[in-house]
């Protein structure tokens, strides 16, 4: 479980996160949704520890990572996996070495064990016989899956994904969504996905946090989302005719 309490972040004089409170639950797929530029990526990067917050607290299962407690982050980092928007695979390493990389840094296992673990994670994300390839030789969807394999190789307690579906076709997006959902429930992880893909919201979102102009505007589950009367949320979700039609049909 990750708790965010009254988090504020400035970029120079501009307030990009304004007193944000949120609760991301264990064993659930938690989504952060919002328009481009709303502050959701800043929130995600603050959770990962890549951006320090100016005020407020972030707790990972009760362990504070903000302010003077920043050193705790070092041990928490070994418990977290991150999937970046473009995959962020290391170009100079093969697929196998990319997945094995966190083990090389943090694990004391033998070379054979590390290799077996990396191959197991690749199989788990349904990638076979690609371990010798380099990132440049992979499709967008395969890159995302390798990134997921790398993120779960240390069996993390927390999984963060920044727009995992961006640039993917609808079919591959569903595959990635389902994979993330399966892994979350299989390993009991606290998964936080940053997205503005409506399909992901309705397909896998169990706990949804809506960020609007740097503030948490709304929080709830899928059912509540459909029935919400929050104007900013409704504008974001149901601007398209198709989404409005889906909402009307479901309700």
């Amino acid at each position: 479980m990750i708790e965010v309490k009254r988090v504020t972040k400035f970029f120079d004089a501009k307030k990009v996160l304004d007193d944000v409170d949120a609760l991301f639950e264990k064993g659930k797929v938690n989504l952060i949704i919002g328009k481009s530029g709303s502050g959701k990526t800043v929130l995600l990067k603050s959770l990962i520890g890549l951006l320090p917050v100016d005020s407020g607290t972030i707790l990972f299962d009760g362990r504070e990572i903000t302010g003077p407690h920043a050193k705790v982050m070092k041990e928490i980092r070994q418990e977290m996996g991150v999937v970046f928007q473009g995959g962020a695979l290391f170009d100079s390493l093969s697929v196998l070495d990319n997945v094995r990389f966190p083990l090389e840094i943090f694990s004391r296992a033998s070379e054979e064990e590390k290799r077996d673990r990396a191959l197991f994670c690749l199989r788990r994300v349904n990638l076979n016989d690609v371990e010798h390839l380099y990132p440049a030789e992979l499709s967008g969807g395969m890159k995302k899956r390798v990134a997921i394999a790398r993120a779960i190789v240390l069996q993390p307690r927390y999984l963060f994904c920044d727009e995992p579906n961006s640039g993917l076709d609808p079919l591959t997006s569903v595959v990635i969504d389902n994979l993330l959902s399966e892994l979350t429930h299989e390993y009991g992880m606290t998964t936080i996905i940053n997205t503005h893909d409506m399909n992901s919201v309705f397909e896998i979102g169990e706990n949804i946090v809506f960020i609007h102009e740097g503030r948490k505007e709304w929080e709830g589950d899928r059912e509540a989302l459909l029935r919400s009367d929050n104007p900013a949320l409704n504008e974001f979700l149901f601007t398209s005719k198709f989404n409005r039609m889906v909402k009307e049909r479901i309700i």
Partner: protein, 245 residues
């Protein structure tokens, strides 16, 4: 003001380079990779340039020594001194600043814009130390080696050119090479190559690491890295020469 800010940021950046690596074994493996990437891949270029510059130095010296009172062994002597003192250390480092410097700036810059650096940081790895440290360590090892290599190849180039053009004979050239040899010149030049190695790896790494934006910014950073590291090499060359000679 902007210049001072850049210098300050660069110094903070270099402090992070020398932080203790997370896992020494992985770090040393990277050093080996960089030795191959930066060093071995530069040998052919250094060989070609040194050979031809050595040849041209000999021919130009011979051309300017039409006075029959000047001994012919001075051709070998001057070729050696030029290679030993300046060309093989400074000029070769300037060339490497172009080749290696642009490579480092674009490699690290691309890693920045594709979030590979963020991925390292998210794993709790000091990305500066991991990415830049091995490059500097490899350059510190390989640059003095390339210097020695360049001196020898330059001398061979000069000898072959002088001999084939009839500008100098074997004995005169060899006598010139042996004339008043001061071993301290080698020490002085090796010290310079160490400083230059630090410059042509750390400055491009600094510019690459701080890229913000896209491919266009990576290109700009690469150009800036080469220009600034070349200027830094020239300035440090002057200071070291004043101190050491």
């Amino acid at each position: 003001m902007k210049f001072l800010e850049t210098i300050g940021n660069y110094l903070l950046f270099t402090r992070r380079i020398f932080a203790r690596p997370e896992k020494s074994r992985v770090y040393f493996r990277e050093v080996t990779n960089e030795l191959e990437k930066l060093g071995l891949n530069s040998i052919i270029l250094v060989m070609i340039i040194s050979f031809f510059i050595g040849a041209v130095l000999t021919l130009q010296t011979a051309y300017n020594m039409s006075n029959p009172l000047l001994p012919r062994y001075l051709i070998g002597y001057l070729t050696r001194e030029t290679l030993l003192l300046e060309f093989s250390s400074t000029i070769v480092s300037l060339i490497l600043a172009g080749k290696i410097g642009s490579n480092i700036a674009s490699e690290i810059g691309t890693m920045r814009i594709t979030e590979q650096i963020e991925a390292l940081e998210a794993m709790g790895i000091n990305s500066v130390s991991y990415l830049v440290g091995p490059k500097i360590a490899a350059a510190l090892v390989i640059n003095p080696v390339l210097y020695i290599f360049s001196v020898f190849i330059g001398i061979i180039g000069g000898f072959l050119a002088g001999l084939s053009a009839g500008s100098v004979n074997y004995d005169d050239y060899l006598n010139g090479l042996r004339l008043e040899f001061n071993p301290y010149y080698v020490t002085y030049s090796i010290i310079k190559t160490l400083f230059f190695a630090l410059i042509f790896t750390s400055i491009p790494a600094f510019y690459g690491y701080n890229v913000r934006g896209g491919a266009l910014e990576v290109g700009k950073a690469s150009t800036k890295a080469v220009v600034d590291s070349s200027i830094a090499i020239l300035v440090v060359n002057l200071i070291l020469t004043k101190i050491l000679l």
